[in-house]
Symmetry: C2
DNA sequence: ATGAGTGCAAAGGCTTTGCATTAGG
DNA sequence: CCTAATGCAAAGCCTTTGCACTCAT
């Protein structure tokens, strides 16, 4: 089923992602609901709100950013719900630096992408690369990993630097 | 001078790194000493020991791993010294997951490489990719970054999965 | 009524910091 | 001598957890 959370799919997910267009909000919530159900968890209004907030953002958000948009949820509940959404394969956690974690929808609910991480303000933006480059990266990483018996599950490619705002604010 | 810490060199460092062979221990310590001196810091035995430990390892190490090899240093001093070595451009800190940070020598003291991160045991191993793939990645990232006014400083590319030990220990 | 979800407060765990002491140029 | 470096203990900070209460089926 295309709505099942992937368990251990190797690196070569580029084509599949390119093929699956971004899900509609309806499909997204249905999928989220199903994945939670399969673990005997409920798709509560709080969790739906979290998914909505992440779906509406064009970049991964931190807990403070999320709570800014929905302060009705206790911080601990936000963390707990995000953890459960992660375990259900709906959300992905990103460790960008030494500050807050960033949360985004899982890649199979959006599409394969990478990140621009501002080393000054911590903001993270999404970027995508061409399928050609992605395939070249996949091949190279898979070769390097398998040569040492490493079972590659996925890769992360981040660009570190200064975002436009921080660059213009201070050279 | 090739012994100066780079301040904001863009992505295209592949050729330079490929050209500069791994420094000898002597050169390494000299460079480290000079970089610290330029910030009015001393190259103490503790700091030299830290550099030695990192130089002898073929992978980034955590604080516990470092202290295992030199328990003569207080944990707080290890953190403080590593922070100063980072600020002097001698050491690089890696945030692999939600556990300990990993420390390694700065890339211009070793060579450009990437990491295999085991999601089970947290161990990090180094890998290198071909210059061709690196150039292709650099070009793609630079194009994506500059199109949104992002000033790219460097990139990080990690493979997440299971290391050989964890794979054989438990399917 | 049985199990999941929530909020509050407290605890955890890695890392940083304050402060007095020691060492180096 | 003056400044940096060190060790110990305490504090910080993001995140997780315990517990009692509420809600859904």
């Amino acid at each position: 089923m295309s709505t099942q959370a992937p368990s251990a799919v190797p690196l070569a997910t580029t084509k599949a992602n390119a093929a699956s267009a971004k899900k509609s909000a309806e499909e997204l919530h249905l999928t989220a609901s199903q994945r939670l159900r399969s673990q005997n968890l409920r798709y509560t209004p709080s969790r739906r709100a979290l998914v909505d907030i992440l779906a509406c953002s064009d970049r991964p958000l931190t807990i403070p950013e999320i709570l800014e948009q929905d302060c009705s949820l206790a911080q601990s509940s936000a963390y707990r719900n995000l953890t459960e959404l992660i375990e259900a394969g709906i959300v992905h956690r990103l460790i960008a630096g030494d500050e807050y974690s960033h949360f985004e929808l899982a890649e199979d609910l959006t599409s394969h992408h990478h990140h621009l991480v501002c080393t000054q303000c911590g903001r993270v933006a999404d970027i995508t690369l061409s399928d050609e480059v992605e395939r070249s990266i996949d091949r190279a990483l898979e070769a390097a990993a398998s040569s040492v018996g490493f079972l590659a599950e996925h890769h992360r490619l981040d660009v570190l630097g200064r975002c436009a705002t921080c660059t213009s604010a201070r050279g």
